[in-house]
């Protein structure tokens, strides 16, 4: 897969300070130049002298916003579905529930697949975190957290640990042991500390670092071993509900979405917010990168899912229907990015053709809100978790 995340992969001498650093590609007076992130920040600070009043700053803020819209509109020469007109339409989809995982006593809030494509970790409102074998539907491990509403859970890349958190404002890592009788809670390690609930967590490419998002409006990167905060990300003005790491081997950026209706793209090393998108009309519940890393999709309480392209820096598609009035809680792409699976609060899962913008299937089965949808790592199936306390594997 080509590595095409927005943030520059170029490394070399900065046009301003001449030091060898990772470079950002920007325009200065319509000329393309390469500055290191430090010089870009210094340049942006010019003119922000102490004498400025709120009034002048606000005027500049309005002018800049208008200019941003104008620049984005200039490049809006065609719609995605127009480019996709000539492609063959997708045929009928037959997707059924192949497995139902029962065992949670209360609403399932989150789930994640293990990289072995077989194991799943899920968390629920009553504080239980369960590790399942999806082929046999057996429960392999179960942990009871000391808090309720465990809204976030994640499987470590090695498959040897799971991370979870929720109303306890923390993210805890539990190493999974092969001994079924061992008390997992005894080995628990508290990694992240936020000042409000934990909404989402994800391991980076290794078991050593965890990225978290919280109701306190921030995201943070932590070292698992020491529990130390490595980087924090400030920029949202309300609860951050979801985050997703870019699918590149180098893993430099991630996207987050929140109750301020904004989706922000961040540079993990500098903590800087590099791009921001605000077209949704309500809270963004879920964000997910497109498999190539050049775009991402969002699901929101305004009953739409949208696709934003990072290189064009704008929204390029909306997936909505007048008949869909309930919010989308969770989205995920199929392996090729052609299908978008979205779970809604009206108990259904809608499958969208990403390129054409049309809906190709509705999946019924859950008896309450669908809270989480994730495609398996090899793309052969996807799993949905619901407030009806079950998880379903569809293929």
């Amino acid at each position: 897969m080509c590595d095409q995340t927005f943030l520059a992969i170029t490394f070399g001498p900065c046009d301003n300070c001449s030091q060898n650093k990772p470079l950002m590609n920007i325009y200065l007076k319509n000329e393309p130049i390469n500055y290191c992130s430090l010089c870009v920040e210094l340049m942006a600070c010019q003119g922000l002298a102490k004498g400025e009043t709120i009034h002048t700053l606000k005027t500049e803020s309005e002018t800049l916003k208008a200019k941003l819209e104008e620049e984005r509109a200039k490049l809006h020469d065609v719609e995605l579905h127009q480019v996709a007109e000539k492609i063959e339409a997708l045929g009928q989809f037959v997707m059924k529930t192949r497995r139902t995982l029962k065992g949670h006593g209360n609403k399932v809030l989150c789930m994640d697949w293990c990289r072995d494509k077989r194991r799943i970790v899920s968390s629920s409102q009553d504080g239980k975190v369960i590790v399942w074998d999806a082929y046999t539907t057996n429960k392999e491990h179960a942990v009871t957290m000391p808090c309720t509403w465990v809204m976030a859970c994640a499987y470590a890349p090695s498959g040897c640990a799971v991370a979870c958190g929720g109303l306890d404002n923390k993210c805890s890592v539990y190493p999974l042991s092969l001994d079924k009788n061992e008390n997992l809670a005894a080995k628990k390690k508290s990694v992240a500390m936020h000042t409000n609930y934990l909404s989402s967590c994800s391991f980076t490419n290794s078991d050593m670092q965890i990225l978290t998002s919280s109701g306190d409006g921030t995201c943070a990167l932590w070292d698992v071993e020491s529990g130390q905060l490595l980087q924090s990300f400030h920029g949202h003005s309300a609860d951050v509900l979801s985050l997703n790491l870019a699918p590149s081997e180098t893993g430099n950026t991630f996207v987050s979405g929140g109750c301020d209706k904004k989706a922000n793209v961040w540079d993990m090393r500098s903590g800087q917010n590099v791009q921001s998108f605000e077209t949704h009309e309500s809270d963004i519940n879920c964000v997910k990168y497109y498999p190539s890393g050049d775009a991402f999709a969002t699901g929101s309480d305004d009953a739409t899912c949208r696709l934003y392209d990072l290189r064009a820096d704008r929204e390029v598609a909306i997936y909505s229907k007048e008949s869909i009035i309930f919010g989308a809680s969770s989205v995920d792409f199929s392996l090729s990015g052609r299908l978008l699976f979205a779970g809604y609060n009206d108990y259904t899962i809608n499958v969208w053709d990403v390129l054409k913008g049309t809906r190709v299937a509705i999946l019924f089965g859950h008896e309450n809100r669908v809270s989480t949808v994730r495609v398996s790592p090899d793309g052969t199936a996807f799993c949905s978790g619901s407030w009806d306390s079950t998880l379903r594997i569809w293929a």
């Binding site: 400025e52 941003l68 997707m95």
Partner: protein
Amino acid sequence: MSNNNASSSSVAVVQKAVKQLRLEAKIRRINVSQAATDLKNFCLQNGHKDPLLVGVPSSDNPFRPPKSCGLL
């Protein structure tokens, strides 16, 4: 956001917003037509490998039960 009476903090907030907007205004963008074409090409190139899109035979999919039961 808490409402501080000290005007210096609200100036700092707006300064931060202006600084962020200046950064965002300068980034390089491409045409939607080019971005859309790249998305389309990615889908088409990887489509045949996508099990949920093209479907795999039941024998290859661990979740689908095989059609024939090899009892006899």
